[in-house]
Amino acid sequence: MDQTTVPAFKKIMVIDDNPTDRYIAKRMAEKYHFAEEIILQESALEALNYIRSLENTPDLLPQFIFLDINMPGMNGYEFLEEYANLSESIRTNCIVLMITTSIHPDDFKRAEHNPSVFRFLNKPLDREKFRLLEYEFSLKE
């Protein structure tokens, strides 16, 4: 029965330095048929380059970007700063979600005012959260 269900989205990207969390996100997204293709990125900088390379082919951009906050090198906030400077075609095609372990009040305040962030999600990703996103996405469309 699982095989017959059509995934809700074509492509998503998970940016997280923790391999376990990347694996969980991928497995969960596959299991609950959230996306056809799941791109995993362990570095925010590489993720940024990847998105930039798709600037002229917006159809290939990930529809959702799951972004971790605490990462070595470029962290989630620094990624968002760069992201805000990307071209309009990228920003209108992607939805950025911040994924954290628990909502730190300071983080929450900081991201609440960031126009690029669609919402916050607590780790680990699970069925409920994917259903919620599908629902909110349908409202947005």
Partner: protein, 428 residues
């Protein structure tokens, strides 16, 4: 702005200090004045000057005390005191028919006035002495009868001038001491205040850093723990083996318990760190959120019935996050420690708001708590029994949060019949 507040606070400290000095001095002055009055009575024996001893003496006491009680906030009574002491001197000189030693009373008065640490108090005394000496000396010089200023026939101008200069010198010196004492006190208080202020700042910073450390550490501990929980979920789906499923269930239980510990520590540190944030509270919405989150706790899958009753003429004003902490801790305890012998477990939550306060009563028919340990249950890390599943922080956090909201909490409980927590929180 901050500087202004500090200055204000500092001058408040100086005022406090001066107020204490004033109160003590006032107290001593009572004894001095009574002694002066009694001395007046004693002196009346010598030349039978009872009218003066009683009349002038009581008039002076009346003048002093009526000013003091009519204008308690003003310092005017101290100036009246200065005049009164001057006139006592004049009275004693008269009563002793000009006995020279009675002039010393002016110096005693001058010394007494130092206690208020105000050099200006010497001025009225100086004036009284000047006027008295000038007037009475002159009248005696004119041979008026019964002036009794000096036991000499009259005081020569040269003697009079030297007399006044020396008196003036004494008043000036006493005034100078008063001024010096005040300056010194102020400088000393400034010093103490600044030192204490620095120490306070340092303590506050150390405390903040410690809280911040606890917070960040707890926060960071949750990240790998949640990865583990995620993995357990995935692993569970990938096996049908009974034994494995059992292991995963146990693993998940332990990980959840650890997570519960960390969340408790986070709650505790958040409560001590965050400012109280007052806002309008919609209790039915708040409770909906709390009970929603607590639906799935407890090992036995028995549903605990929630009986919610919200009443009151006004909506509550309080801190939402602390109220959530309080309610979810108490309600989750009620669910965790339900009585398996009883067929219909419930937790009843009654909230009543009035203009002045919010009353919250949370009652269950759970296993209850032995009366002997009621005093200890709010202690940090106290756990009622070996079967207690929590960290021992829950009720401690509840008590801390309630006290942050200036409220109070009481417990009533009996083993086997249930527990009731009653909370009162002022409605700000």
């Amino acid at each position: 702005m901050k500087q202004e507040i500090d200055d204000l606070e500092q001058s408040m400290h100086i005022q406090d200090f001066l107020f204490v000095i004033k109160r003590k001095s006032d107290h001593l002055i009572n004894y001095f004045l009574i002694s002066f009055f009694i001395v007046g009575l004693l002196l009346s024996f010598f030349y039978d000057t009872w009218e003066i001893g009683i009349g002038v003496g009581s008039l002076l006491l009346t003048a002093y005390y009526s000013t003091k009680y009519a204008l308690p906030k003003s310092n005017l009574y101290q100036y009246v005191l200065s005049v009164v002491l001057g006139i006592f001197m004049a009275q004693f000189i008269y009563q002793m028919h000009g006995m020279f030693e009675m002039h010393f009373m002016a110096f005693i008065a001058s010394a007494i006035l130092i206690t208020y640490q105000n050099w200006k108090l010497q001025i009225p005394l100086m004036l009284v002495v000047g006027i008295h000496h000038g007037l009475f000396g002159y009248f005696q010089y004119l041979d008026f009868n019964k002036i009794y200023f000096s036991q000499l026939d009259y005081m020569s101008l040269q003697t009079f001038i030297i007399h006044m200069i020396l008196a003036g010198a004494i008043f000036s010196i006493c005034g100078l001491w008063a001024y010096q004492f005040k300056k010194y006190s102020e400088a000393h208080i400034d010093l103490i205040f600044n030192k204490r202020e620095t120490e306070n700042q340092e303590l506050k910073r150390a405390n903040y850093e410690l809280d911040r450390f606890v917070y960040s550490t707890s926060h960071d501990l949750r990240a790998p723990l949640n990865s583990m929980l995620g993995l357990i979920e995935i692993a569970k789906e990938d096996t049908n083996e009974e034994l494995m499923l059992n292991y995963f269930k146990m693993l998940k239980g332990s990980a959840k318990k650890l997570d519960g510990f960390i969340c408790d520590i986070l709650d505790y540190s958040r409560n001590s760190r965050m400012e109280v944030n007052y806002e309008e509270i919609n209790f039915s919405e708040l409770l909906k959120g709390v009970t929603e989150n607590l639906k799935f706790i407890g090992d036995n899958n028995r549903m605990v019935e929630f009986k919610i009753e919200i009443s009151g003429e006004t909506s509550g004003y309080s801190d939402k996050s602390r109220l959530t902490t309080i309610l979810s801790n108490l309600i989750s305890n009620a669910i965790r420690y339900q009585n398996s012998q009883i067929p219909d477990p419930f937790v009843s939550i009654k909230i009543e708001t009035s203009q002045t306060e919010t009353k919250i009563v949370i009652q269950d028919n759970g296993i209850g708590i032995d009366k002997e340990v009621h005093a200890k249950i709010f202690d940090m890390f106290y756990r009622v029994s070996q079967e207690s599943v929590g960290s021992g922080l829950g009720l401690y956090i509840v008590k801390e949060a309630v006290s942050k909201l200036n409220g109070d909490i009481k417990v009533q409980s009996e083993v086997g019949s249930g527990t009731t927590f009653s909370i009162k929180i002022p409605n700000k």
